[in-house]
Structures are given as structure tokens and as C-alpha cells.
């Protein structure tokens, strides 16, 4: 029994039905509507930056998957964000290949310089830090993504410069 108290807020979120139309297209990719859930959540996250409860309710309604079920899916995957993050998100890999090439030093540096550790956002809202498991750039370790940009072979010599390019 889904009561719909925040019906109107969730509806108001999708102005112009962008998400609705997107999901309609995505549904055609799969034999069952349920399968549209992951792409739908990606689309919602891209649109709103993160997956608020309202966004989840909206996805729930557009996909026919109950809200609790959507929440279960969202929280299973590390890259679905259930809280808003900073302007730039640093995805720093600290898994073994990066660790042995100095990723822990970088983590320490980011912590000292911006006051952030895993999952946190700097006070000015500029950076959030997400510690990653392997991001598949072990030959150029340590590596990180900032938003969608890849940065490789990071060291104490170039990290400052990289960070400076994100305002």
C-alpha cells in the first residue's frame, strides 16, 4: 500500500517530464520493465545530482518498482549517491595496486588540505572524496577520477596542480 503523501513534491521534481520520457525510451531496451531500474536511476542521478527520497519515489512510480525495493537497489551500489555531494567529486582509488604506489599518501594529503575523508564534502562544498576500489588504471597508479575525468600517475608533485584546476 503506497500512500502518496509526498506525491506532489516528487512530481514537481520532474519538470517537463524529462525523466519520464527518458525512462520510456530506456524501457524499450529490456523485455521486462523492472530491468529499467538501473538505467533509470542513473538518469535520475544525472538529472538531479543525487538520489533524494523524492527522486526515488519518482523512479518508483515511473518503473512500477516499489519505493522500498528501489531503496534496496540504490543502497546496494556504491556509486548511487543518497546524499548530495560537493561540486567536484574525487574518486580516489586506494586498492592494492594504487596503495603500493602511494595512494595512502594522497588520501592523507586530501584529508589535510581539504578536511575530507571518505564520503565527506569539504566545508566550502567544493570537493567530496569517495575512496574507490580498483578503477582499472593500475598500470598508471595511483589513479583517480575527478567527476568523469581520469588522472593517472598522481604523486605529491602533481596532485596540487590537478586539484587547482577544479574550482
Amino acid at each position: 500500500m503506497e500512500t502518496s503523501t509526498s506525491q506532489s513534491t516528487a512530481d514537481a521534481l520532474d519538470k517537463g517530464g524529462i525523466l519520464k520520457n527518458k525512462i520510456k525510451v530506456l524501457k524499450k531496451m529490456y523485455p521486462h520493465t523492472r530491468s529499467v531500474l538501473l538505467p533509470a536511476l542513473h538518469a535520475a542521478q544525472q538529472l538531479y545530482g543525487w538520489l533524494s527520497e523524492d527522486a526515488i519515489e519518482q523512479v518508483s512510480r515511473l518503473t512500477g518498482v516499489t519505493t522500498a525495493d528501489v531503496k534496496g537497489v540504490v543502497t546496494f551500489y556504491s556509486l548511487f549517491k543518497t546524499k548530495p555531494l560537493g561540486r567536484h567529486v574525487i574518486y580516489l582509488c586506494t586498492n592494492v595496486a594504487c596503495l603500493i604506489m602511494g595512494a595512502d599518501t594522497l588520501e592523507e594529503y586530501l584529508g589535510k588540505t581539504y578536511g575530507i575523508s571518505h564520503g565527506e564534502t569539504s566545508a566550502d562544498g567544493r570537493f567530496s572524496l569517495v575512496i574507490m576500489e580498483c578503477i582499472g588504471a593500475c598500470d598508471k597508479a595511483p589513479a583517480m577520477l575527478v567527476n568523469d575525468d581520469c588522472h593517472f600517475n598522481i604523486s605529491m608533485d602533481n596532485i596540487q596542480q590537478i586539484m587547482e584546476s577544479y574550482r
Binding site: 518503473t63 551500489y77 586498492n95 582499472g136 598508471k140
Partner: protein, 435 residues
Amino acid sequence: MKNIILKNIENPNSHRIEEYIKAGGYFALEHAVNEMTPRDIIDDIKKSGLRGRGGAGFSTGMKWQFASLDPKFPKYIVCNADEGEPGTFKDRVILEKNPHQLIEGMVITAYALQSVRGYIYLRAEYPHVEKILNDAIQEAYAKGFLGNDIMSRHFRFNLSVHRGAGAYICGEETALINSLEGRRGDPRVKPPFPVNSGAWSKPTIVNNVETYANIPYIVETSPKAYSFLGTRDAPGTKLFCVSGAVKNPGVFELQLGTPLREIIYDHCGGIRNGRALKGIIPGGLSTSILTPDMIDCPMDFANLARHGSMLGSGAVIVLDDTMCIVKIYERAMRFFEHESCGKCTPCREGTGWMRTILRRIEDGMADMEDLATLEDVAHNVAGKTFCPLGEGAAQVLLSAMKRYRGEFEYHVKYKKCEVTDPSLRWGHMSMDELD
């Protein structure tokens, strides 16, 4: 030796369909569709001896045959591009530089299995690859290699990319299928196996990117030609991705059975900074560590098994003597704990427990009894988990504890790391130096 999988790799536009065709691409598909029956193809793949490149090394031809014998339709073709095994970046190279070879391999598979729908399950950590793949798929549609009337032979196959969202376990095929169906990525009970009841309960083939990339070559040459490469038991070439303490890390396409020593010293230029080799993780973090005396082990399924390890994904992580085993395995266990899906008791509870004990050892807060407990907990996890993730976590720790026992004990006894010289640690400057 010529490259099969990384062919054309030096061409900066290798990902474009024109370049791929120019280098002989999509010829295998044409050959398959025009001159072979689906049965022929499955037989050839079986004969070639190709084994899956995703980690388990299961015979690809057998897998296809099981799916093709199942009377249920539709059948689904899924590419496992979740590449999450720490240390692995080989699929990424194929996806970035040679996406059409993957697509061609998948279309041939689809033809062999009379499947009309395929998905590439792409890990979310490769955002830029999604675009490359989608562009390549569009190109293939435009040229009639995908769509409703492929090569004007009334053969239909549609392909799209399905993005994961950050979960290593989704590389496990049944978890991947759950994720494809829009669910939490818990692994499923086997049997039924995906070949009989996979995506949407229909017969489903899940193969690794590299596995598909081998298909065009086998179809276009012959199973026999293919089996000349590699070893008897493990034919073909393999992408080895080497990282860590070597001079030239990177991806190398080499024949299966190439000795580890050749990979590290000939292809990667040996250990960096003149340090000594301390250990090798040969197939990704879930495979057991090898000691330097095993350096001559040929890199194939059987020989690595003989050394108590596995070929896995072919991800070689090289450790030198500045690196602390306890710290590495504490970090490894953090990975397994973080990625445990939580479905089964031993993995969910055991990985966390092992990690906390390792943390205490690393922090110099543990005694010998803890070491014994750690070993016992690992034994209690091993052999009892639902899927190989938890199993791997326990096994790699057990072998590290066995092979580097002294280092663990040193940590416990002296409450500090054997690798003492801070300037040696991790090859990089530490924070203290920076200030």
C-alpha cells in the same frame, strides 16, 4: 608474435569501424553468417579449446553448447565488462581501443546461439568507455552488423550497454544477471546455471570481454590454428596486465604459458629502483600470492594451480621489498569486506572480522593469539561461502599468512613493520617529509 586481441592497437583510431574493417574486421562475421551453420561455430569454438578469460577458465564452447541445447527461447548474450578484480585493466584496453572486435565476437555468438538480444554489462567506473561503446554500436548498426537484418541475412541481433553502479560482486555472472534485471546484485543459487535459466529465466551466455574478442580470430582462421598458440590445456593468447613495482607496467598480449619471469623481466623491464622482488599476485587480488622462488611458473591455469594460485584475470601485481604484506592484506581484506554482498554469513561477518584483526596487527595492537584466531576465522570462512568472493578472501589471506608468516609474526612481536626505513616505504614520499 602477432596480436590477436590487441591487433591494430598502435593505430590511434583503432576504435573506429573503418579502421577496424580496413584491418580485416567483420570478415569473420561475414564468413560465419555466409558459410557456417550455428552448429559449426559452436563445434569450432569447442575444438579451439578456448577457455573463459573472466577468471574461472571454463570452456567457452561447452558453455555455448549447453545454452544452445536448452529448448527455451529467446536466449540472451551478455558480455561481462564489469572488470572489477583489483589489478585488472585488460578489458578496458579492448573496450577503448578495439570495441568492434568485442561487438563482432558477440554478433557471431548471437548467430551461433540464435539469440536476438545482447547486453554489455559495463562497470560504472569506466564512464568514458560507455561513450566509446555506444558510438561503436551505432557504427555497427549503420553498417548493418547489428540490427534486424544483419548482412541482409534476416538475422536479427540488438545490442546495448547496461551500466553497473559500483559493485564488484556484479562481476559474478548470476549477480550480474540480477543487476541486469534491476535488482540488488546478490549471486543466485546454482543450479540452475545461466545457460539454462539466466536473464529473465531464459538461457543466457555470460562471457568476458576478452573471451568474445577471441571469437573472430578462431572463426576466421581455424580452431587448429588457434590451438597452436598457448599450451595444450590453455590455448591462445592472454592479456596480462602488470602493475606495481616494475619499470614498464601495462598490458601485454602473450601466449598462455609464458613464464612469469619473462613477463616481469623481459616485457616489463624488471623491478623498479633496483629493489628486490618480494612477491607476485598473479591473477588479481583474489588469487594467492606467489613468492619470488616461483618466478619461473608458466602463466596458465594448470601451472598456477600447481603453485596454489590461479590465473584469474591475468592481473599481475608485483611487490618489491619496500612493501608490507600485512598492510597489503589489510587493504585487500577491506576490499573484500566492502564488496561482500552480505548474502551469506561467513563472508559477511568473516571478512569484517578478519579485517579488524589485520588492522590491529598492522597497528601493533595484536598478540599471537590474535594471529591464531585470524587463521582460524579464515579457515571457518573458506569452503563455506555462497560464492567465490568470500572463498577468495579467505584463501588469499591464508596463503599470505603461510608464505609470509615471519612478517606477520614480526608485526605482532615488535609492534611495528619489518619494512622500517620510511624512505623505502611505498616508493613515494610520506606526509612527514612533505611538511
